[in-house]
Amino acid sequence: MVTLNDYLMASGLLFAIGFAGVLLRRNVIIIFMALELMLNAANLSLIGFSRFNVQNGLPDYNAQVLVFFVITVAAAEVTVGLAIIVALFRARQTTHVEDISTLKF
């Protein structure tokens, strides 16, 4: 039997992996992917809570709707983020974070 705790554990694990990726990887694109991982970890916990918060025999669909919104907004955010990375690469010819440590070029 899969319980809420299992989902939350999986979600926390995903979040930790994502955070570790953000902290440790050098390539901005990989960091970006790790960020998406953290986002989806949050989504997973939301879905978990929704599935196990049963009222009148039905799960709480509000959370699931919220997840769809998050996915939509995340898609939009990814386009903006990737555009910034492309612009950054054009300016600096690099996607490594340690090369991008100043505000002014």
Partner: protein
């Protein structure tokens, strides 16, 4: 309703408005308007003199219990002062037409003179302290304007400033005194105060304090020690101004004020003693200083100081009538002396040093004889005016031996320095080119001299004086004081005459007197020291507390924080993310486990 006091008061004011705003370019017309205004004032003053006493006022400011009136109070004192101020004022206006004839600032001069007449008549007529104080200040302003009339030179504006500042010191005390009196009695009107004050009796200390603060005003305006320093410097103004303001009227305002508010002092023997001795000290010091001055106007200025000291001393001897009597006679002969000096100065092309005059008897006979009359009146030669009034003060000193002696010494010194002045300036042989080519002044200047010399001859006779002033009956025989007075006068006059007769330079040299006891130097160094001290203290505060502590301290703190925080801004994205994550973890830890 009685209109004459208002006409007396406002006719010079109308002249100020017209001459200052309309006819400033027309010099002759301005002077005639000004003279006409003071003539109107004089005629209505005569009408008031023969009219009834009275008092009238209307509300100017009415704030519940605090009421200020604009009004007049007419009694014997007012009548006499009106005659003195308007009469002497009229003569000096006429004289000024001649004296200031070629002056470029003639219109401005006459505006100032009219403003002075307006303010002085306001003081005389005022029926309450506040109105008196307003006109008191106006008198100060017009005096300042007139002393600094020749503003393109260095000395007159400086003298004007000095006069104004010295007066401000006294007026500050005067204002405090008025406020104290108002707070204690709830009224500033003289008539109501005279009724309420004796019955009020808060505490003797309070009453003495209030009275002495009011006396401060008189110290400033009547140039008593220690604020006397402004009067000799005020001689930088045109000579008719010196005669009108700094001899006959304005400086007498302090004495007049003391007489007007004498009920304040009556109940306080300590205040009276202090007033007596301030008057006597002023009188003695000024008489000593006068013996060594070489400038004809300065000798007269110190003599004015000395006589004012006597008037104040008369107040201190509880005989205000004697002080006012002396004020009255002094106004006539001192104005005469100043105008005579002005006539000499004018004819000698603004030469004021008596050692460069001499031999004027034949060349300027009217000036010579009228000046002689003025001198005799001032040095208390019987039967001229000064003898009677000075004797009245001497007699009221009576049993007070130190005061009696001091007044006798002043009488001796007055006779000494005035005969010195007269002998050196008028007799002997001419000691400069200008003096040998001098000739008499025009009629417009000599006529006032003649009129004033008649007044100086006869004003003192008891049967004439009694028409103007009611002198109190004094205890004891008047013969004793008269004998002393005549002995002092004879000793002074003969020693002065024989010591200086035919001399070309001063046979006596007392630097202490010549340099006026170094009081000016003392004040200057005092002001310099306090100023330096103040400058150093405020410099220290500015440099170390405001600049160092507040401005640089604040900027230093901000800079320090910025410097410290700069080490966090390393620019590494992942370090920021780590710090952010660590912060979230800490926050979570605190929320979940911290509150136990």
């Amino acid at each position: 309703m009685n209109f004459s006091p208002w006409i007396v008061l406002f006719s010079p004011f109308a002249a100020v408005i017209i001459t200052a705003l309309v006819t400033q370019k027309l010099r002759k017309l301005s002077s005639y308007i000004s003279v006409a205004a003071v003539a109107i004032s004089f005629i209505f003053s005569l009408a008031i003199f023969f009219g009834p006493d009275g008092s009238e006022g209307f509300n100017w400011i009415d704030l519940g219990t605090f009421r200020i009136e604009i009004g007049y109070l007419i009694n014997d004192l007012t009548k006499l002062m009106l005659l003195v101020v308007a009469g002497v004022g009229f003569l000096i206006h006429v004289y000024s037409i001649g004296y200031m004839g070629e002056d470029r600032g003639r219109a401005r001069y006459f505006s100032g003179l009219s403003l002075f007449m307006f303010s002085m008549l306001g003081i005389v007529l005022a029926n309450n302290f506040i109105m008196m104080f307003i006109f008191w200040e106006l008198v100060g302003v017009s005096s300042y304007i007139l002393i600094g009339h020749w503003f393109d030179r260095d000395a007159p504006p400086a003298a004007g400033n000095k006069a104004f500042l010295a007066n401000r010191i006294g007026d500050f005390g005067f204002m405090l005194g008025i406020l104290l009196i108002w707070s204690a009695s709830g009224t500033v009107t003289f008539e109501q105060l005279a009724q309420r004050w004796p019955a009020l009796g808060p505490s003797p200390g309070f009453m003495t304090g209030a009275a002495l603060l009011v006396f401060c005003g008189a110290i400033g305006k009547s140039a008593q020690f220690p604020l006397h320093v402004w009067l000799p410097d005020a001689m930088e103004g045109p000579t008719p101004v010196s005669a009108l303001i700094h001899a006959a009227t304005m400086v007498a305002a302090g004495v007049f004020m003391l007489a007007r508010t004498f009920f304040l002092f009556q109940s306080s023997p300590m205040a009276l003693t202090l007033i007596l001795w301030i008057g006597l000290i002023t009188s003695l010091l000024a008489a000593l200083m006068a013996t060594q001055q070489d400038d004809i106007k300065r000798v007269l200025a110190y003599s004015t100081l000395s006589q004012l000291g006597l008037m104040v001393a008369a107040m201190g001897l509880s005989n205000p009538q004697a002080g006012i009597f002396h004020l009255f006679t002094h106004a006539s002969f001192k104005a005469l002396l100043f105008l005579g000096a002005g006539s000499v100065i004018h004819r000698l092309h603004h030469e004021q040093n008596i050692w460069r005059m001499g031999g004027l008897q034949k060349k300027m006979p009217i000036t010579f004889w009228t000046f002689l009359v003025g001198t005799l009146a001032l040095i208390a030669c019987p039967p001229f005016a000064g003898f009677w009034s000075k004797d009245e003060i001497l007699a009221s000193a009576g049993a007070n031996i130190p005061a009696f002696l001091a007044i006798a010494i002043v009488t001796f010194l007055t006779a000494f320095y005035m005969s010195r002045l007269f002998v050196v300036a008028f007799l002997g042989h001419p000691r400069s080119d200008h003096a040998s080519h001098a000739h008499e002044s025009p009629l417009v200047m000599t006529a006032p001299l003649v009129i004033l010399s008649i007044a100086a001859c006869i004003a003192g006779f008891p049967f004439i004086a009694s028409a103007f002033i009611k002198l109190p009956e004094l205890e004891g025989s008047p013969i004793g004081s008269m004998v002393i007075s005549i002995i002092a006068f004879l000793a002074g006059a003969t020693s002065g005459f024989y010591l200086y007769k035919g001399k070309d330079k001063d046979p006596i040299d007392v630097p202490l007197f010549e340099y006026r006891f170094y009081i000016d130097e003392f004040y200057n160094s005092l002001i310099k020291w306090t100023q330096d001290l103040l400058a150093n203290v405020s410099g220290f505060v500015d440099r170390w507390i405001i600049d160092g502590g507040m401005v640089r301290g604040l900027s230093g703190i901000t800079w320090g924080f910025g410097f410290a925080l700069r080490f966090l801004q390393i620019g590494n994205l992942q370090a920021y993310a780590f710090l952010f994550g660590a912060g979230v973890v800490l926050l979570l830890y605190y929320i979940l486990f911290g509150t136990k």
